[in-house]
Symmetry: D2
Subunit: 327 residues, 4 copies
């Protein structure tokens, strides 16, 4: 058993991480931080936690100071960037604060100057299917980046880099739990709105792993959870489907669907799985590689647990939500 | 005043056409055809028609045989292709049966051999903003084609043809009123499913007008109405925004939004308007041109009324639903 | 033509009132107040207003001070209660600040002591179908109250007062445009939550008109707009359907549906109409009277326009959105 | 380990039952029947079953003939009523075919004459929290009935029977997977429609257990899953909250929420749990008891597993989906 502290447990990614840690057979929750809920019990976050075996909330500073084998950071980008990471133990950061090696990119795409540019090189980018190395400090990937990279990572050397276009469709929880006009239900219901078109902060981490940028248009959909990245590429002659099938052969997390089968959000929602469909465009010879995930599952908390499992030497999928066949 | 007959009034596009004809100050409805409702009054289609001044439903054959200044066909592709179009008067066909000049394309993309290939050349493609010529027989454009062409038509000579990628996001009414598993609410709610990826039947009409095909991925969304075409292109150096602004200057139907403003479905739903946003991709130098419309408005019945207005010499927008500023 | 000032135009009810005033053939907008938008043009509220013929936004104080034949207040309950109503001209208040004659009720149900209890008797409750008298100062009814009273007003003397149970189902715009956790899309999508159960502030205005309270459970639904009040009553032997049909005979705003036909939100959304269905309970002998409206239409801005029309001597329905037969 | 056969596995309740059986540590699936999928593998129902350890589909007749410790029937009411139940082993019927003791009720409320009226007395009504007895043949309760009875069962002798009014709000999967106009997404999205008002077939099973009927108005909501029964009653002076808290003390399936906390669909969706909230009406002295469940969980497949567990002597909750704290 390993001890875990969660910092920032009251946001969406924090609550989902809490959910996974509580059901993980090898993890013990020793601290749950939330500045807004400090001093209260689990039911203050959610009535379902009334009977759960859970320590009371403490401040984020106290959670961070609690000795633990693993500390999971579920804070805003800027708050996470400003922190002193614990000196000991595994640290997994779900924000974007430590994903980019290029500190200047923070000012341009995240809107703040990184306070510790020198530390960025110490963090490993934790997309476990594509990045073999690990480390004590792990930057958990962004949700759009995860879906895009699962689709494009295994084929990055087999496509025309200049051809890549990605459309992202995300459920609303991807925008976080804080209150803003664009997250108000009246603005979201029965609506679709593209946003941060051509300027989304996940593109730099995609480019860092692929070696080239992609053209991304994110759209917010009136859905609670789930994200689809529709990647349109031109093959350099390789068989893209085969490359993807090889990359994910045997994976319980990422499934390449048979020919003719489309990914569907409903099959990955509330899970830590992802599905990839591959289609030939009969009109132009291009190829569509479409990845569906849950933005809070594989796109956040599920990936964080995979990172914890790898760092601690556990099986990849222990504690994950792998689904079932709900309607 | 001109007399109008609607053939196939009980489907989605038929009902929306009926809605527009009833509110049009220069049109008189003389026949409403529906094989399933023949012999019944308007309330059999919708209780809101109980008090409306409407002839009783007749069979589609009888509606077709009714002398009228304008006959509007709201039938399936195959049924419309099989019909003898009336010898007299304006005919507007909302199906795809007469949009393509190349008869062979019907077998490939629509799944049936066109029964009257020789007649295809007699029909004009009725996208009024882009096609100046008109005629007695008008093929009303498809919903994905309309949004894509409004975005790409004015810039087709200013972009790299090989670069064009289109993502289509459509509300469910775009799939028609007939019962099928993919239109069942249990399959649609809180779900997103790409479909006919790389093989959608609207691509040939897009290619016919542009002169080159595009790579289209259609997605069905859990929305009642509305469609977004997100078109990603590489400019050949031209100022794409200016070309679009010129093309639609003064239009009450198509609006090019100011820089930084995204199209939103909620602003065009239940209207016959379209909105276009233009964005530079800061990472790749590409350009996103995004068009939002109502699939049943500008994407079907609204366009049909524009075609009727043009053929009869009325003002372009008379009888259209131009909206307002509902929340 | 009459001059109109709107105070608080940037909220949901304000924007919908603006929509109706702009399309009303007998009204001229002379002032549009919004403290957050003062000094800006219409496009600051909505891009669709870029070309509209609209004065620039002024502060609410300035809008209130603008001489006008009609002043329409679209403010919070507490802000409206605190105002000096203009001394001249018609005033229609869409908040709850002037609906109740009993000032003590404000402290109990609205959470603030009414600052001008003596003025409450000067206001008329403006539910035009049920309240024949009018006046210079008109309190526009609440959305739940409107639907409940349209269903129960005409039968209030024909039912067992002790038997009345009302379930209210409302779209999210009923909760207003201000940001709060319960209006965040992540809390609303694919969810249903009852709220203010047995303590909703619309019950006192219902009781004031009926002469007895009802037991109301409001539920917030993941819908943009629309409200259903399902009223379950025991008749004292009268024919409730006949009473309702008589009450609304000839109305273009309120329709009593034929036997066996259910009201549907989709038929009244984006309109100022309401539909009522009447059903016998075969198990208990009770009767269900179910009213559907748009919470922002008949439940707010549509009713406000009816009040303006009556006060100025116009036809009841001029300037209303009466719909059509959109799918 | 016990052997299980599922008959009718391709409908919504069948698929959910399959999901629970596959994850149940004490059950082995020996036959999966579906007339439409017979001869195919699991992936024909859902791509997620491609790797699952599952027998191929057989016809329903063959599934029924397969020797098994437990046979679970997931058929239409009429098909289940017409079957010869297996002579051996536990049988759990998820349809309504064996819930009512009074055969005449089938003709009146289900629309068919029961073909085996004499057998109805052999079946036990399997609402495990309220019905202590069990048997070899178990009729699984209806979804509205489950939520209503969980709310009212423990207080049935403490309320005025004449006062009870129930509003039911159900997600679309409650209407089944077969294709009908009212289940078409275009009729469901952004709409609410009451249906079978005062004549729903679940009222007789509610009345059978309570000893008196209730007045039920079902509403179909644009939600994938989940059901709320809002029960409005008048207490005869008893403390209804205490009675409910006692009834469900220690239950892991049914939770009575603390004062002031509302049930929410989002907390029970995709689970086999139910939540009950109790509220005093401050205006009328009535009490609202509101129960939320997943119509396919506690309202169908979860309850079926509880029935299997009891019949086989397992712990009540083994194999159930008890949730977690997903956002």
């Amino acid at each position: 058993m390993a001890d875990v502290a969660i910092v920032g447990a009251a946001g969406y990614t924090g609550q989902e991480t809490l959910d996974r840690v509580l059901r993980h057979p090898e993890l013990t929750l020793v601290a749950v931080g939330s500045d807004s809920l400090a001093g209260q019990g689990g039911a203050a976050l959610d009535p379902r936690l009334a009977q759960a075996d859970l320590p009371a909330f403490v401040t984020n500073a106290d959670a961070l100071a609690t000795p633990a084998d693993v500390t999971i950071l579920c804070l805003s980008h800027e708050a996470a960037a400003a922190l002193d990471a614990p000196d000991e133990g595994i640290v997994v950061d779900l924000s974007g604060a430590h994903r980019l090696h290029d500190a200047a990119a923070y000012e341009r795409w995240y809107g703040f100057a990184h306070p510790r540019p020198g530390s960025l090189g110490e963090w490993v980018y934790g997309l476990t299917e594509l990045v073999p190395e690990t480390g004590r400090l792990v930057a958990n990937p962004g949700c759009y980046a995860t879906a895009t990279l699962l689709a494009l990572g295994p084929i990055k050397d087999a496509i025309d880099r200049d051809s890549v276009v990605v459309d992202g469709l995300s459920g609303m929880t991807g925008a976080g739990r804080s209150l803003k006009a664009s997250s108000h239900a009246g603005a979201v219901l029965e609506n679709v709105a593209p946003y941060r078109v051509g300027a989304h902060q996940h593109v730099p981490e995609i480019a860092q792993l692929l070696g080239f940028p992609v053209s991304l248009t994110p759209h917010l959909l009136p859905l609670r959870r789930g994200l689809i990245a529709t990647c349109n590429v031109r093959s350099n002659g390789s068989d893209l489907r085969s490359l993807l099938e090889e990359a994910y052969a045997g994976s319980e997390v990422v499934t390449v669907l048979p020919e003719g089968v489309s990914p569907e959000l409903a099959r990955v929602q509330n899970t830590d799985r992802a599905e990839i469909g591959v289609f030939d465009d009969r009109f132009t010879g291009r190829t569509m590689v479409i990845c569906a995930e849950d933005n809070l599952g594989k796109g956040a908390a599920g990936q964080a647990i995979q990172n914890v499992n790898r760092a601690l030497g556990f099986e990849d999928t222990v504690g994950l939500r792998l689904g079932g066949v709900l309607v």
